[in-house]
Amino acid sequence: MTTVIAAVLLLTGLGVLFGIGLAVASRKLAVETDPRVDEIEELLPGANCGACGYPGCRGLAEAIAGGSAPVNACPVSTDCGAIAEVMGVEALSCERRVAKVRCIGGKKEAKERFAYVGSKDCFAAHQLAGGPKACEYGCLGLGSCVEACPFSAITINENGLAVVDEEKCTGCGQCVAACPRDLIALLPPGDPVTVYCRNTEKGAVVRKICQTGCIGCGICVKQCDQGAITLENNLAVIDPVKCNRCGRCIAKCPVKVIQGAVVEETASAVSGG
């Protein structure tokens, strides 16, 4: 019996001793934290995706509270107004962005130079003699972006191309960094009118290797009355801010490389006139 009592007493004693020790230590060693850090962390998505460049949402919350990051530094959150309120500053623009893979030359449309059997990694394939695709700019479809996406928003379709599910995409930008060919861009949501090609070769070269590659003909540039399309290095580029989604460039593109959702009234007006 005495053993039991001794054991209980000893363990209780140790526990109380350690408890007091820790309590004192936590007082003495307390690190003052900004209460705003916790509030901001609450407002952040909490996925710790790292898209902002800080180590997790907590890291960003500390940076915002410390003033070293802007209130809209989180590319995922759409709630930067609330964060701005916590910080007592005016809200900046916090529009949602979604990722788009700018290549539609899959197995059917684009030629292959050799059969690739190496590791399923776009960087590895890209470094091997410029990749198995005849087009050195096209989507390799090995899924490095799929791996990188923390929200499972990207899939490889049956045509061997990466496609982003706009619903699931949060615009964190992890896939942008994961693509060795810089094919993925963050664009406004709602399927904007986009040139789905990044090939800057001359038209004749592009025609030989891919049915749906931009040949740099410039027809779209002439069609656009908004001045939203420019030709850079044999490649049409659309400014999503200037574009009014009339859809004329989509209709006239000879290789059908421009795609996107067209605003209805304007489209019918075009076809009517």
């Binding site: 054991a7 000893l10 350690f18 020790g21 820790l22 230590a25 060693l29 590895a124």
Partner: protein, 200 residues
């Protein structure tokens, strides 16, 4: 001096905590994806194991004096280790925020690392008969052995990421096989007669 050398060589190579005693397997598999994090975990374990060896030595003496060592050892050692990890976390957060950030979640995870409890129990084993300094050296070397094992393993796993493996073998299955192979390699140390080499 020679006894300390023998203890540390034994704890690092001959009876490595992970590869020969099979303790601390959870962090060994869990945080060995990258060499960097493996190193961070290793250093945290070295620190906690050394400190735990020192403090549990005193607790063990106390238990033995009251004749309670038999059944109170494990629970009181766990208590000591948990408190110690909490304390280390507080000190680090106050004095060295950089290191605190680098270790991150691995620091509190050490509480449940059975290698730490293992070293405390081995030190307390009357068969070993370690004194205070020997116990601390055993703890420190045990941590070094853990770090060696986890860093070696992480290096191999980094390479495995790009190896063409059958689908069923990807990830953990091949990691477990790899861990077994390293363990077999370390078995080679078990016949090592350091005493004979040193002419003892």
């Amino acid at each position: 001096m020679v006894d300390l050398l023998l203890i540390s060589f034994g704890a690092i190579f001959i009876s490595n905590f992970v590869l020969a005693r099979f303790l601390g397997i959870c962090p060994f598999l869990g945080v060995s994806r990258k060499i960097e994090t493996a190193l961070g975990m290793g250093f945290a374990v070295i620190f906690v194991m050394t400190m735990a060896s020192a403090i549990t030595y005193g607790v063990q003496k106390l238990l033995v004096r009251h004749g309670l060592a038999e059944f109170l050892q494990t629970i009181s050692f766990i208590l000591v280790i948990a408190v110690l990890v909490q304390f280390v976390e507080m000190i680090l957060r106050k004095t060295s925020p950089g290191l605190y950030q680098a270790l991150g979640i691995y620091l509190p995870l050490i509480t449940t690392n059975c290698a730490v409890l293992g070293v405390a129990l081995i030190n307390a084993d009357p068969g070993e008969g370690y004194n205070f300094i020997q116990a601390m050296v055993n703890g420190f070397s045990g941590g070094v052995g853990f770090t060696l094992a986890i860093v070696l393993f992480a290096g191999l796993r980094e390479r495995l990421e790009f190896a063409p493996l059958p689908k069923a073998m990807e990830g953990f299955p091949i990691a477990l096989i790899l861990a077994g192979l390293i363990s077999i390699a370390f078995l080679g140390f078990s016949g090592f007669r350091l005493q004979a080499l040193l002419g003892l």
